[in-house]
Amino acid sequence: MAVTVKTFANASEAAGALSSDRSARYLGGGTLVMRALNEGDVSISTIVRAQDQALTRIEASGPRITIGAGVTFARVLAERDLAFLHAPARSIGGPAVRNMGTVGGNLFAPNPYGDFTVALLALDATIAVQGGFGSRDIPIEEFLQGRERQAGTLVLSVSCTRPASSEAFRYRKIARIKPKGGSVITVAAHLPVSGGRIAGARIALGSMAPTQIRARAAERALEGRSLDAATIAAAAAAATEGTSPSDNALGSAWYRREIVGVHLRRLLSGQE
């Protein structure tokens, strides 16, 4: 069952082809779309590709970093200026998957995948997308909420502000298989500190809802406080609020609810 492959020199042409054909899917690294074809997904009749160098560009020298949607996790790991994103990049797949899978594709990866997106959600990333009528920037939360409707748009890049210190951004993925495996849960925390108090905390969770979500109650427990044991306990106790995890082969919904607070506490206390 052959599909039509359309390859374009630039991203805007590819976006045009994508927006005008409901059965078209954009092929990035192949770890999602080729997998769907291997599984016999007949909803895909056209594959759209773009060989646009803008999609594989990394701008990481300044305080605000931008990563092209086509940048692979192997390239993120090779970029010293993106050290704060190395832990999430390293937690994905084995070497072959990291050589193929892209930052843009990860935004569409369903549970138990999409770990890099958990980090980007905690970092309040902005997603640049191109539709049939031009490009625009979407906050990552809004992007994820409407992810099913984003099929006709092409993600160009993601950008976020570099955390102030290595302490300010923390990431942990719980997997049954080490060092590689699908996520039981994934937790990322951005904890900017102003005058000894947390200002603008963002906690993001993977595998705790149909898409990556923020743990807003936990964020509220941290806001304006110093990161002491009582604050951490309050945040951990609030971690499940608003979550709706599912059962899958890696863990049950019950188990995920049981452990999310434990791992958030460990993450916030700096424990291994």
Binding site: V3, G30, R35
Partner: protein, 158 residues
């Protein structure tokens, strides 16, 4: 549906084939070129037995759209032996009992080659990381890890 012409280097030799749109590299290698060394395992990126090197980089051939390798160099296990002699990694796998059923072995060897090509003396941890995308259900991994370390320089018990 029209066929797409595709040329690339396969184990150092230029090949030209016609593929259907959407054909993956694994199917192209096995069914159109006749190189049966990369195996089909899961088709999902979970098992690693279809691993090949594309321009020296480890990739999963079952998740690679065949036409994306146009003009590039694809290495498979079939190209690993040097004339009548086994590659040092193949020799080490045999000596260390690193293959039982053998289904994962092509992918394991390509993952190991990708590691040793850029890091000739890896640590045990680096070896484990390098084969972390490859599943073996027979050996329990230890003989494979030891074989790769042995091939890297006789540090099998490191």
């Amino acid at each position: 549906m029209t066929k797409i012409p595709l040329q690339f280097r396969h184990n150092g030799r230029d090949v030209a084939i016609f593929v259907d749109g959407g054909t993956n590299l694994l199917v192209a290698l096995r069914e159109l070129i006749g190189d049966m060394t990369p195996k089909f395992g899961c088709g999902q990126g979970g098992c690693g037995t279809c691993s090949v090197l594309i321009d020296g980089e480890l990739h999963l051939s079952c998740l690679t759209l065949a036409e994306t390798v146009a003009g590039r160099s694809v290495e498979t296990l079939d190209g690993m032996k040097q004339g009548p002699n086994l590659h040092p990694l193949q020799r080490a796998f045999a000596d260390n009992f690193a293959a039982q059923c053998g289904y994962c072995t092509p992918g394991m060897l390509m993952a190991a080659k990708a590691l040793l090509d850029r890091n000739p003396s890896p640590s045990r941890t680096e070896v484990i990381e390098a084969i972390s995308g490859n599943i073996c259900r027979c050996t329990g991994y230890e003989p494979i890890i030891n074989a790769i370390l042995a091939a890297a320089g006789g540090r099998a018990s490191a």
